[in-house]
Symmetry: C2
Subunit: 151 residues, 2 copies
DNA sequence: CAATAAACGCGAATTATTTGCAATAATATC
DNA sequence: GATATTATTGCAAATAATTCGCGTTTATTG
């Protein structure tokens, strides 16, 4: 992971097309140092992509695990590059100024002193998976069963 | 924590008023077994509270830490009773059917086999706190500094 | 009981995100 | 390289969750 990853190949491997728009999107995400909003991303792309298109691309990429959606409790989503471009990790967000610091995922986060943060006032941790019933039902073709509609 | 907590006192201790609406809200939350949406909560209250009022109450309560906002990646928030009524914990949510299971917070979550779930496909973990700059600045009267407006 | 500020309902406004649809362009095939 | 197939795109309109303004009610305090 020395130079820039081959995004074109990465996109195609996920069953997508390497369009100029998505390539720019990947490169823009690659440069980011912290999760960004769709709106900010669009600006950073010089408005190259329509916002609706951008959301669609991000959704597709998140679906494939190439992009990770992050919730900082701001009322909107943030996105960042995930595997295989970037190693799995978590975040520490400042509720005061919005500063974000990466945190390694030890799955044993007895957070030690961190350089840029003084206090940890709260944390969120949610696990996602399949209950036995759904797991037994097998990977229903197409994935997602429960859409969340109405709840 | 044998019987029902004294919600009236709990509300007043947080600088709020023990209105019939908020008392019913607390009792409704107390009965819930998993985080619920504002809309669902309103129904469970028989529409006793206006949705806007409900959101205002939930915000205030979350502010005081009495209520915890949970993100299950459904595009809307879920709420549940927190301290001192309920012990701190986390969740395991089924992306298939939406089933939710509580997970103890060991801060060392090497998730062992759990009863109702077969697989854990993903998890989210975000920490919140204050960076050194904000921490040094002290608890600005009123709390929140960064509103997230515009980002 | 009167004063004060919190809480309420209602309707309108915001915001993030999604969708329908017709036009384009990337990939696979020939 | 030309062609068929299908994903992607832009744009405008639609949703859905959450918030706000404001005039009215009511809990709390003394
Ligand atoms: Mn990160
Ligand atoms: Mn719970
Ligand atoms: Zn800060
Ligand atoms: Zn399930």
């Amino acid at each position: 992971m020395v130079g820039t990853p081959d995004f074109a190949q990465m996109l195609r491997r996920c069953g997508g097309r390497a369009t100029p728009g998505r390539l720019r999107l990947m490169r823009a995400l690659w440069k980011e140092t912290a999760p960004v909003t769709a709106a900010r991303l669009q600006k950073s792309l010089g408005g190259a992509l329509n916002l609706a298109t951008l959301y669609r691309a991000l959704d597709a990429l998140a679906e494939d695990g190439v992009v990770r959606r992050v919730d900082f409790r701001h009322g909107h989503a943030h996105y960042e590059l995930a595997a295989p471009a970037r190693a799995h990790h978590h975040h520490l967000a400042c509720t005061g100024c919005g500063a974000v610091e990466d945190v390694a995922c030890t799955l044993r986060p007895r957070l030690k002193r961190t350089s840029a943060f003084s206090t940890i006032t709260d944390h969120a941790m949610e696990y996602f998976g399949l209950c036995k019933a759904c797991g037994a039902r097998g990977p229903e073709r197409g994935g997602r069963i429960w859409t969340g509609a109405g709840e």
